[in-house]
Symmetry: D3
Subunit: 129 residues, 6 copies
Amino acid sequence: MITEDEDRQYAIALDEAERMLGFRLERFLGTADTEPANAADFKRLATVQAFGAAWPRVDHLDTRTRALISITIAATLGVLEPLRGQLRIALNKGVTKEEIVEAFIQIAAYAGAARAFESYGIAAEVFAE
Amino acid sequence: MITEDEDRQYAIALDEAERMLGFRLERFLGTADTEPANAADFKRLATVQAFGAAWPRVDHLDTRTRALISITIAATLGVLEPLRGQLRIALNKGVTKEEIVEAFIQIAAYAGAARAFESYGIAAEVFAE
Amino acid sequence: MITEDEDRQYAIALDEAERMLGFRLERFLGTADTEPANAADFKRLATVQAFGAAWPRVDHLDTRTRALISITIAATLGVLEPLRGQLRIALNKGVTKEEIVEAFIQIAAYAGAARAFESYGIAAEVFAE
Amino acid sequence: MITEDEDRQYAIALDEAERMLGFRLERFLGTADTEPANAADFKRLATVQAFGAAWPRVDHLDTRTRALISITIAATLGVLEPLRGQLRIALNKGVTKEEIVEAFIQIAAYAGAARAFESYGIAAEVFAE
Amino acid sequence: MITEDEDRQYAIALDEAERMLGFRLERFLGTADTEPANAADFKRLATVQAFGAAWPRVDHLDTRTRALISITIAATLGVLEPLRGQLRIALNKGVTKEEIVEAFIQIAAYAGAARAFESYGIAAEVFAE
Amino acid sequence: MITEDEDRQYAIALDEAERMLGFRLERFLGTADTEPANAADFKRLATVQAFGAAWPRVDHLDTRTRALISITIAATLGVLEPLRGQLRIALNKGVTKEEIVEAFIQIAAYAGAARAFESYGIAAEVFAE
């Protein structure tokens, strides 16, 4: 059973996710019959972690820069599906494709041509959507 | 040419793999005509490394906990196909889906939402098998 | 300014951290004069992420197993100072040194001898405390 | 606008890539209409980084050993598509399949069975080409 | 022997490094008697890769954002000494400490509390310089 | 209790380690009073994994190339103390400093300037021994 606090945090995170992505995230967070009940907790907690705490912060860093930073994290880690999501957030919030490409130029220099080329493949796909 | 010692180690590792997975591993370890002869050595050595030394140890840690630890290693590294194998071992040895999801909750907190979401995708697939 | 909700979450996380570590975490979370004001937000958010959401969960996974999983995450990532903290939590919650060593045996097999040896160095230091 | 220097460097890198790969790389470096103009800069810079500076060096290390090292980097990072390219370069430059397998044996020991098995999957595919 | 082209590229990269760091990089790039002669090539090539190609680009991304992205890459990789250099560049180019802390908040969410805490330790040290 | 087989494997691995390193490894593998008894198993298993299976193989790859590959694995992973050991093995087996530097040039290109610079710091220290 989740507490009222947890419920409110999740609602806030989901609303923030919608502002970032341009659509409701719920459709991706449902749990299949084959998943156990606490899978919903995992998705709620990871969503709150991602969207509840960090993204709404706008006092010191604008959302566009935050989106570029998030692309950089995912591309450097080489987590390709989460990177796809970060690229969509960035484009939805007005980051230009040119700015994204510049981030990959910096990634190539510091994290290497191998990781940069692999991750950029996802960017090229999202650019074409 | 492999020595008698190496041959015995491999047989032990393959038997242990069967106990863990519930089926014989040999079908995945054959080498294609296009692979060189020492590819068999690679598969034997990596199999012995994985199944020969660590899994049979039950004095200090039960197999279920060992399976959860192995899922955690693969999920943290982001090696998705080996993670699939670890998830199958865990379920075969009686680890519950709920316990596996709790490991992912811990991975999200410490290794991040990006890696946790990407790796959990494999878990959701294996849960549905 | 942090909200009442955030304040309550932080208090809960700090209490949980004390239960895990055996001492109050606050002494490590102070911000120096040279750190900016939002450094306190970073420390609060990362602490809530680590201690607020995951550790209090005991329905599906006991704290000892959760502690072994957390050691595994930190050792696999090669984050040596956070690993030190995880080792202290584990020992404080009754995980035996033998169990911890078994986790490193599994890490050697799957994540390699190089990472395992480097991370085990921290374990040997914590064992001697 | 790219300078004459940059233009010359790119031409040198593309010629070197051809020597390594056995075919012209240009067909993979075109930019789609949906990619921004500076995507061409990213591809040029990453190509110069990869092929312009390091591969032509033959004074201290022969190209075959350099190719084995490049396979090792990509396999250890787990960047599967760049690894495919490195494997093709190695085979094209006369590295034997046996030598490549031996590199994976070393990777299994030091970087773990999980990463080694995942990356070797790409090698098995390239061996079959 | 390095070519005129390579010599000019290195000079450009070193000047750019000075603009970024606020001091000449040469003092860190000398080679000890115990290093072989081609160590100078390694340092020249890595310096050109880092400072020659990416940092001077200002058409699509301002230097301050590029510096935040570079901090993010180093912090996500967990390369602590290069991270120190990136933090100094950022502060020297006018990135505020508050902005840097916000990048770490994003890193905690997506790359995890473990990596974020470890890397932030370096930031706290550089903030105190 | 370890079996005769395990005992023999360990002896073989320790002899191989001496051939690689030029000194007996035992002095580093002792366990402190504060380490549990199975710590000896961890060290034995990781030593057998590292030195027992892979290094003695000379049919398809000479020891010098194997040493360069092992340096590359450790440098790419960023495991600095194991890298120190690999560098000593390489120099002891006749790999030249020039060859090692060339491996770092390849690492800079593909795995990035950040990792390459950090790992090269260890190489510069070992070159000075």
